[in-house]
Amino acid sequence: MTIRPTVLAGFAIQALQANKMRSFLTMLGVIIGVGAVIVMMAIGQGTQNQVLSRINQLGANRLTVMAGAQGGPPGRTTSAGNPLTLSDVEDISQLSFVKAVAPTVRGSVVATQGNHTWNTGITGTTPEMADISSLVLQSGRFFNQADLKAASPVAVLGQTAYENLFSYGVDPVGSQIRLQGISFRVIGLLRPVGATAGSDQDDVIYIPVTTAQIRLLGTSNQLVNAITVEVQDQAYMDRVQADITSLLRKKHRLTEAQEDDFRIMNNAQIQEQVESVTGTLTLFLAAVAGISLVVGGIGIMNIMLVSVTERTREIGVRMAIGASKRDILAQFLLEAVLMSLGGSLIGILLGMVATEVFAMVTTWPVAISLSSVLLAVGTASIIGIFFGFYPARHAANLNPAQALSYE
């Protein structure tokens, strides 16, 4: 019969308790390493989740057509750059599998209300945009076809624009605001959406595209900045994108040799790209944090080597009274693993607290995943075994007689 595992664990715990301060300082490396892994992965995962959910909210089956060429290689001829027009909007809406189309005209304006002034962006569009962009109203309504036809001076406010133009708690619906000095009636207030990776999606004012062109921006009443297309099903995305491309190339009379003079953003593609970029980011953050975990492991190895040297006589005594190599190896390995596991448990708690504090202070999106916790614990125990093995084997291979005569 050999030593019971529980008794052996007791030996290891006793040895760690005998040098509390040293054990704690040794664990600190792992605590910080695991904490860093948890925080970094929570930030990476949170960012990815938020960006993806925002893209989903916008609709994965959405295409955005923008005027202007893709930056092509020098030497290739690009056309003068035909603008996008309301007639393009009309033509695209006739394509098959297209569910809805809405134009966007953008501009920056100075908005005033009472003694509040706010520089913001306006988006001129059609009523279809409310559906396509899944805009949700907190109060009031979105503008309708009648407003569009009449080029009515009506505005729908995003949360940030609202907060900066109105005092807290005031319902803006029915109030008048001025955009570039022109009076608009507020007819709706949108629910907050939040920021996507730093850019505030709520700092916006929606007005009818006709109003924007005629009354506010003084641009030609045909030109638009972008066209948003909702496709009936995500499966037709590539098909519709190809149809729009050939339609616009024909309308713009582009020759084979010429580049497109417009760009099409495909939300499904963007989603894939974002996923791969943020996935890489999360891995990178975890790897950076993982390095500190390895440093923590080296700290354990260092202390275990010191400990084995200091306790050479003790090892000799244990061997003299019957401890086998295996018993000695197991005890020292257990000491190392206990330190790294203890460190990783404290590190997880600390990492969770730090993640919450970070999220509260910066309002950055975070998400602690079970996989990051498992990864941290798994890595820490592997590190404990890996870095604990060498010192433990060193202890186990001591010759009892020599260990006992060690001064």
Binding site: M1, I3, R313, A320, I321, G322, A323, S324, K325, A401
Partner: protein
């Protein structure tokens, strides 16, 4: 009463030990022949450097000889692997050192429990046995004390309790009184005698003090790595009364 025909407990034939010391070889043992029978109490004497500790380490299975053979209970120890030797040290051998070698941070009780733990005892069983052994050396009341709360003599008694707690065949002690005053030394030697009489354990004690050796019926003297004088070279058993 003669038991010459019986196989001696310990049989050493031409044991040599060479330490490779930074290129120069140190011949610590140069051919030791020694038989010790079950139940003997033997003193091994000799000047410092004569090889007594080296021999004790080999007899205690804590080191391996360079040449010659060592049979314990008729088994050639050199054929056993490290883990079998560990089991042998745990079950059949008890070691007492000059400097006690108790675990400094552990109580007397825990120190005595240790060999039992390595034998697979549960904490409850180990505590029971260890308290019995401490009782036998008269230190049950000090079970909760740490080594630094005990005198040298008391520490050595704890070490003896630890050595005998697993009921070994052989009790080996390397200069057990070397660090003790005369009164404590006598007490320790009386304790060895009691263990020998009450438990029938074979006792081998290294000392260079003749008055300590006088507690042992048989004396073996070493010089320069060989046995130069032996009261009972055959290793046949003699009882205390005969001595």
């Amino acid at each position: 009463m003669s038991t010459v025909d019986q196989v001696p407990l310990i049989q050493c034939r031409g044991i040599t030990k060479v330490y490779p010391l930074s290129g120069v070889e140190v011949h610590a043992l140069r051919g030791v022949d020694l038989n010790i029978a079950q139940g003997e109490m033997v003193a091994i004497m000799g000047a410092s450097g004569s090889g007594k500790s080296t021999l004790m380490n080999i007899l205690g299975c804590m080191d391996r000889q360079t040449g010659g053979s060592y049979l314990l209970e008729g088994i050639d120890v050199s054929t056993l692997d490290d883990s079998q030797l560990a089991t042998l040290r745990n079950r059949k051998l008890g070691f007492v050192f000059q400097r006690y070698n108790l675990l400094a941070r552990s109580t007397a009780l825990h120190n005595v429990e240790l060999p039992l733990f390595y034998a697979g005892f549960s904490p409850a069983e180990a505590k029971k046995e260890a308290l019995l052994a401490l009782e036998q050396v008269g230190l049950r009341d000090l079970a909760g004390h740490r080594p630094n709360q005990m005198s040298g003599g008391q520490q050595q008694r704890v070490a003896i309790a630890r050595a005998v707690v697993n009921h070994p065949l052989v009790l080996l002690a390397d200069e057990p009184t070397g660090a003790l005053d005369t009164v404590s030394s006598v007490e320790i030697m009386q304790l060895f005698q009691r263990m020998h009489n009450e438990r029938g354990v074979t006792v081998i004690i290294v000392t260079h003090e003749p008055n300590i050796a006088d507690f042992c019926p048989r004396k073996v003297v070493m010089r320069d790595g060989v046995v130069v004088s032996d009261d009972n070279p055959s290793g046949s058993h003699r009882t205390m009364e005969e001595a």
